[in-house]
């Protein structure tokens, strides 16, 4: 029978404590990082926030010469480009996810699914240069003149499609963003649809429903929360996306009624101007933009995560 050496046992206990505290410290570091991000942004943004007050988020002016800054144009650009991206990407992603889960032959399912997932790994700067050199000229020559001709004269929405076709601008940025978030939305929705129990679907078919009726009345209601979570995750990505937008947005600090005009977004304004910003107030205003972006995306992603978590818990529970 082995005799336990007390010194050995004591040493083991010390190792255990050291290892445990190392893992705990690393885990807590994650919280520290998020807190540090929030605090350092707040500290950097403080001079601008103090100088302009609440008017910072309601003013459109952005003038480095007179040292006056307002965040309205970047906020507007960020929201509008993301809305365009979601309007285009959500229906398309929904279609792809349906195709993959309900229609696709099993052999193709795996390869198309893998292709979609790999494309989610392509860095955003690639989408940016493609948007600048390929998409923008195509939109300028073929799509935008058509939009101006057919939608420009209409009442109300006509204003959105007037002015010269620049190629780069809010609309182009929205389209590039849509293509970028498409793989995320399609992959999340596919995963959500895959969690629908086959028994529910088969019950639908058993009652004589068509494929579409099963999708619309069984699959979609069952996956509602997860779909919304996926959409919010895509939205979080679109709101914070920097490089893909910076290439094609045109970087103009003004709110134009036309979607075809150049604009700016929070992230592209920071990327374009930060290293060239002179003067404390200029730098601080850009960091204040970063703080706004942090707050917006934090909220959107937190809601998305809460929804997806709710779904995971439900999937784990027995039917």
């Amino acid at each position: 029978m082995a005799i336990i050496d007390p010194r050995h046992a004591a040493k083991q206990l010390i190792y255990e404590r050291v290892f445990r505290s190392a893992t705990l410290t690393a885990a807590i570091l994650v919280l520290v990082i998020l807190g540090g991000v929030a605090l350092s942004l707040l500290r950097g943004a403080w001079p601008a926030l103090q100088h302009f007050g609440f008017a910072f988020v309601t003013r459109e002016i952005w003038n480095p010469v007179t040292d006056e800054y307002g965040a309205l144009a970047p906020i507007y650009g960020t929201v509008v480009t993301s809305v365009i991206a979601m309007l285009l990407a959500v229906p398309t992603g929904f279609g792809i996810a349906l195709f993959l889960t309900e229609l696709c032959p099993p052999m193709l399912k795996r390869s198309i699914g893998t292709a979609v997932e790999l494309l989610a790994a392509v860095p955003s700067i690639i989408f940016g240069i493609w948007g600048l050199f390929v998409l923008a000229p195509v939109l300028q020559r073929h799509v935008q003149p058509w939009l101006i001709e057919h939608f420009g004269p209409l009442p109300l929405i006509g204003k959105l499609f007037q002015g010269p076709p620049f190629g780069i601008g809010i609309l182009t940025a929205g389209v590039v963003l849509a293509i970028m978030v498409l793989p995320f939305i399609a992959a999340t929705m596919r995963d959500v649809f895959d969690t629908v129990p086959p028994m529910l679907k088969e019950s639908g078919y058993g009652l004589g429903a068509t494929t579409w009726e099963v999708i619309w009345h069984v699959v979609v209601p069952h996956s509602r929360v997860g779909m919304l979570g996926g959409i919010m995750l895509g939205l979080g990505r679109a709101l914070g996306e920097t490089m893909a937008v910076t290439f094609v947005i045109g970087n103009a600090h003004r709110i134009s009624s036309s979607l075809l005009a150049p604009g700016t977004t929070i992230s592209s304004a920071i990327a374009n101007e930060f290293t060239e910003a002179v003067g404390d107030l200029y730098t601080s205003s850009l960091i204040a933009l970063g703080l706004l972006l942090f707050l917006i995306t934090f909220g959107v992603i937190a809601i998305a995560q809460a929804m997806l978590r709710h779904l995971e818990r439900r999937a784990a529970a027995p039917l």
Binding site: F19, I125, L239, G240
Partner: protein
């Protein structure tokens, strides 16, 4: 048309739309890859790998940028992945269902999809301002911060796949948890952890926004970690937006290099994972 025909027609129409969406989506993505490959291959030559980034109007290569990207990615992963792994170990082995772990998981998922430009601003505030100038080390730290949530997530997922029986067997032999983790759990989850590392490298090697305000750029060969360092993403950004055809050509070549690297890493990660699953050793 009777009801039955209407239902059939509607079914056909929506399914056709679904197929159309798939075709359109895949066509866009194929168009991007095609442009990338055709322009990138045209810009590719041996000089890309042997010469430094040129001044406007001259020809040159991307050697210093490739080197800088490699150095910063390597440093970033060396700093970030141990932290991510340890934190993942805590979540999977020590605090599996504590309230702290729930909070950490939630925060980690938020960091995982937070805009990387914000991480760049954060490092600018805490490192670049303190040091007084841009530096490769600040760039590496920014990349490390981005790598932490990725490795944390994959490590936790992979450790959770290790059968409880193995841990119990180790504990029954009198091993403390640390010994069980190091000698039983890590080896059993090895291929999963390697997959996580590959995915983290893939993720950080294409990041541009956080490097803009941390490592910045340098036109020449530099190995000093405390000075600005050239790196592929920022060079691509600057060169693509320039009016010079030579620079634009190099930007495409750089874009192709990055994308191919990332796709190879992602595919390697998938292959390792599927080998692990087919061997059946670590199924839940």
């Amino acid at each position: 048309m009777n009801r039955r025909q209407i239902r059939k027609a509607r079914n056909g129409a929506f399914l056709a739309l679904s197929v159309a969406a798939t075709v359109v989506g895949l066509a866009c993505l194929a168009a991007i890859l095609w442009t990338l490959v055709s322009n990138g291959v045209a810009g590719m030559s041996s000089r890309v790998f042997t010469e430094m980034t040129p001044p406007p109007g001259a020809s040159g290569g991307l050697l210093n940028a490739i080197f800088g990207s490699g150095v910063m990615t390597l440093l970033g992963i060396c700093m970030g992945s141990p932290i991510g792994m340890l934190a993942g170990t805590y979540l999977a082995e020590y605090g599996r269902s504590s309230r702290l772990s729930t909070v950490i998981r939630f925060i980690n998922d938020i960091l995982l999809s937070a805009p990387s430009i914000i991480i760049g601003l954060f490092i600018y505030e805490i490192l670049v301002i303190r040091m007084g100038h841009f530096s490769a080390i600040a760039g590496s730290v920014a990349l490390a911060v981005i790598a932490i949530p990725v490795t944390l997530r994959t490590t936790e997922d992979m450790l959770n796949l290790v059968p409880v029986g193995m841990k119990d067997a180790s504990a029954a032999l009198g091993a403390y948890p640390w010994r069980t983790v190091l000698s039983v759990v890590y080896p059993a989850a090895r291929s999963g952890i390697v997959t996580g590392l590959l995915l983290a490298i893939a993720r950080i090697s294409g990041e541009t926004a956080p490097l803009l305000f941390t490592a910045l750029n340098d036109q020449f060969w530099s190995t000093k970690l405390t000075a600005p360092m050239a790196n592929l993403p920022v060079v691509i950004f600057q060169f693509a937006l320039s009016p010079y055809p030579d620079w634009q050509q190099l930007a495409w070549a750089g874009a192709l290099i990055i994308t191919v690297t990332i796709l190879i890493l992602s595919i390697a990660a998938r292959i390792i994972l599927s080998l692990m699953q087919s061997s059946g050793g670590s199924k839940p």
